[in-house]
Symmetry: C2
């Protein structure tokens, strides 16, 4: 393995080969380490059938909690818990209109993730 590769990977994962002298780059290293952690977290959250279905549904249209629950035939409670998880990782956002909460995907990146993911799995089926 090349030195360059080791460094690049190390920068991102904050693992082995960290040259303690590179003080100036510590911040970047830290940030990248956080990024890898956040990346895993993001994938993990989308790695649940209920949550990915919710995300897919929201990629089509803004929906309220009870619509999602009815559509997916999942209890209101389960949907609400799932939405909180999605919200915490900034995958969805919502606006409140009276007693109804309307959810949408947080940004276009999520749509992108779903698209790229679909493109991968389509070749498996």
């Amino acid at each position: 393995m090349s030195q360059k590769t080791a460094k690049a990977i190390n920068d991102a994962c904050e693992i082995q080969f960290v040259d303690e002298k590179r003080v100036k780059s510590v911040r970047r290293v830290m940030k990248s380490a956080e990024a890898i952690t956040a990346l895993a977290e993001t994938f993990k959250i989308l790695g649940d059938p209920t949550r990915v279905k919710i995300a897919f549904a929201l990629s089509k249209e803004e929906l309220c909690v009870c619509d999602i629950a009815n559509l997916l035939k999942v209890s209101q409670s389960a949907v609400s818990h799932s939405l909180r998880t999605l919200r915490q990782m900034k995958l969805v956002k919502f606006r409140k209109e009276g007693k109804i909460a309307y959810y949408t995907l947080d940004d276009e990146h999520i749509n992108n993730l779903l698209d790229v993911g679909f493109r991968h799995v389509e070749e498996l089926l």
Copy 2:
């Protein structure tokens, strides 16, 4: 929620509102339902710190098992188990040269997934 949206979501998730009469589209529905399942599975597999680090490392360079283990400071056994999981979802592939197994990402889609994922998390940090 519009009828159109309900149909689209339903087609993909195979949930509620399925019009049993649409015999001709059953196959597409099934395929999409499988796709959603496979999509969740794919995200789930990348939703583990060790595996996403491995994927990230492999996006930089082809690596053998022991290189990965050393780089990530994870036991050889854990790496091997992780690689098997990644292999089963066709996220990585390998070639064998003597007793050494060299792993790479299976295709460009995976690189894409990592990229898009990074683009999302970078805005969170």
